[in-house]
Amino acid sequence: MRVVRLAAEDDFEGWRSAARSAALAGIPAEHLHWQPGEATTDLFAASINSAPLPPVAPADDFAVPRRFIDVASDAILHVDPSRFAQLYALLLRLRDHPALMGDEADPSLRRISGMAAAVRRDIHKMRAFLRFREVIEADRTPRYIAWFEPEHHILRANAGFFVRRFATMRWSILTPRGSLHWDGATLHEGPGAHRSEAAGDDPVEAVWKSYYASIFNPARLKIGTMLKEMPRKYWKNMPETALIPSLIAGAEAREKNMVEAARIRPLGDGRAALEALREEALCCHRCPLWKPATQTVFGEGPADAHLMLVGEQPGDQEDLAGHPFVGPAGKILDRALAEAGIDRANAYVTNAVKHFKFEPRGKRRLHAKPNNGEISACRWWLDQERSIVRPRFIMALGASAAQALLDRPVTITRSRGQPILLDDESEAWVTVHPSFLLRIPDETRRAEEYSRFVADLTALKDRITAL
């Protein structure tokens, strides 16, 4: 076993020249013991050979790919004590197969590339998370002191970055394994330090913390992303991270307050809001139904209505007139509402789908049922109408309307006659669409279904009056 001494843990040049000599001397990787720093090993005292490696004759020198030097100069800074040996073993293989550096699928190259990547990440995180504190020196000039605990041997490798960035300041970076001091002109290295040497009270830290707390948006908590990029091991040396637990804990409450405040307080001019929404809806292209239809048929009624009636989609006459429920189905709806004692003028009347979907048959346009995609494309408008009008009761007329409201397929016969609580605390009620009544050929059955329709509306009316 031959011992190779290196000046320090990050002594790349030392490793490079020793590795070159050893490779030329044909020494196998397992016969070398790499010894960084001053410490002596007496593990193999008897078998140790400390003789210097033979010098390299210029003629014998050999070249390695540039990429190997790049990877090795990073990987050498890794804390893993086996890195010197791993790199040397790779170097030996590289002499026989110079193309090996291109083969990223090679397991030992992958391992070494992984070490280099870990080192680069550590270098990057030091640049990011190191925090200076301002300390006023005896001569009344400021000095900036930082305490950082890098994982790998990166302090010296990172010095240039801090010198360039903070060239005009006087600063010290203290770490457990060494320190750097810059006086504005020269860089000095010092021994390892202790956290307490960087202690101090910097009033700007409070300002920074209040910035950190206010830039955070409580409506979008993403703790996983934060932890992935800023792992907990860095937290103890960053002033702002002390706030994180309370920010997370308070986020939900802050958001609830915002929503609650908006629910209690009237939001302002709902009529103008609906008007603006209708304007925008005129050029809606969210689904292809706008092409054949004449126009968008938007909802109508008071902006503060307690009751919202939602149909399926405009029909032939609605499409031409631009108003909901003005055709034959609308007539039936009007009659039934009157019988149930509901004044249509007090209700906001709209449709789940705002364009007429039809199949041309000669000169006629036959109603066609909107599909799931069209209903879900148009739900955006219904949701907007609901959040402006904020009705306490919503009557869904037919299965399409119920689906738009509840976001799931609904069977009318099973759901009618009872309230379904929606997530904004309003009540949805479900019944048939009036045009269903128009399509029943048998007169007796039609009359039956009509009275069930009126009964559903009456039950709703009773519920409204009861509250």
Partner: protein, 371 residues
């Protein structure tokens, strides 16, 4: 920009001191907490205060630089003058070498924009909303043609600046980091297809560096025109992924649009758009990792740019097997159905597997409108 010096619990990177000179504003944009009609408390910094704050944060290594914007006070020109003064003082009085991003006010005097470009690394003008109809409803004082006109003027200044630098090394820089814009998602009726189309037009027409998407999130003192709603965070994420597909993976905008649902125009929320595209165009797969060109490999869901480059380098030296691909990529399970390797050939992608590829339903996000 540059290094992220901290991350907030909302997962966002903090690299710049991002502040408003003032939150007073004469405009009434409904998505904005600082709109004229909001009851928010108003405050204002002096230019010197912003300069001092920026320097003291920069010296402590908290930030890379400053991102300065402002509510409109007095006039557009007056506001722009104040923004420019901050940048000028940082550069000229303090020799500040950090990053400066100034939000540019579309109607400001071109001479002021010129000065802004001399001091700032990046300038940006917000397009605000993907559709003109949306802008008309939510930001009635703003006009899409005026915004685009300003973007186009910025493009010319940036390009003539670059041109001058190419000829004379001493020519002054003009916003060397280019221009970007921001679009609010979920406040108007635009679909993902609309947004992707809009963004790609902006990239082409004004040579933008980035289009930033911002999921509309509830603000205190909400407006009647734009009531509180759940922030569409996953949607924002999917749009960013589609942006990456165009910028780094060689997809055309119409191809990204083809990943969206043909009727609703929305990208699926339960899988990323690259996977959605692959499932819609199954005839393009499987791709042979030992033969396929770079462009085809980049379309394999689960293979990133780095993994593709590693595959291309490695396959010059060996025939790649599935185990090799596993070492070069993140998750072989997701890749397998789309790949042919030396020892692997997938059977036709069954529906069962397709279900497994979709992301597992996540724990519900914080309840916004819980009963």
């Amino acid at each position: 920009m540059g290094i992220c010096h901290a991350y907030a619990p909302d997962g966002r990177c903090i690299s710049l001191l991002k502040i408003l000179l003032t939150n007073s504003c004469i405009f009434d944009c409904h998505y904005c907490i600082n709109r004229k009609s909001s009851n928010v408390r108003r405050a204002r910094f002096t230019a010197k205060e912003v300069v001092d704050l920026t320097l003291s944060f920069y010296r402590r290594n908290y930030i890379e630089g400053l991102f300065l914007s402002s509510g409109i006070i007095g006039s557009s020109d007056y506001t722009m003058e104040q923004l420019v003064e901050v940048a000028r003082s940082l550069r000229e009085d303090h020799g500040f070498r950090g990053y400066i991003h100034l939000k540019t006010i579309p109607d400001a005097d071109p001479a002021l924009i010129e000065q802004a470009g001399r001091h700032a690394d990046r300038l940006s003008i917000n397009i605000e909303l993907p559709t003109e109809a949306g802008l008309a409803r939510l930001a009635p004082e703003k006009s899409a043609p005026r915004i685009e006109h300003a973007m186009s003027a910025l493009r010319s200044s940036i390009e003539s600046g670059q041109d001058a630098r190419r000829r004379y090394r001493s020519a002054p820089d003009f916003a060397p980091a280019g221009q970007s814009t921001q679009m609010i998602v979920g406040a108007d009726a635009s679909t993902d297809r609309d947004i992707v189309g809009r963004a790609s037009t902006l990239y082409d027409r004004y040579r933008l560096r980035r289009v930033y998407y911002s999921a509309f999130s509830p603000i205190p003192d909400a407006s009647a025109v734009l009531p509180l709603q759940r922030p569409p965070l996953m949607r924002e994420h999917r749009l960013y992924q589609s942006d990456w597909m165009m910028r780094f993976y060689g997809y055309e905008p119409r191809e990204v649009a083809a990943a969206a649902d043909p009727v609703t125009g929305m990208l699926p929320l339960d899988m990323d758009p690259k996977l959605a595209w692959a499932l819609r165009f199954r005839d393009r797969f499987p791709v042979d990792v030992n033969r396929a060109p770079r462009e085809a490999l980049l379309r394999v869901p689960g293979l990133g740019v780095k993994a593709v480059d590693r595959i291309l380098a490695s396959r010059q030296w060996r025939r790649l097997r599935l185990a090799d691909i596993a070492r070069l990529s993140r998750s072989i399970a997701k890749l397998r159905p789309f790949l042919i390797a030396e020892d692997w050939r997938p059977v036709k992608l069954a529906d069962q597997e397709e279900v497994a590829l979709r992301s597992k339903p996540r724990a519900e996000q914080m309840e916004l409108f819980g009963a």
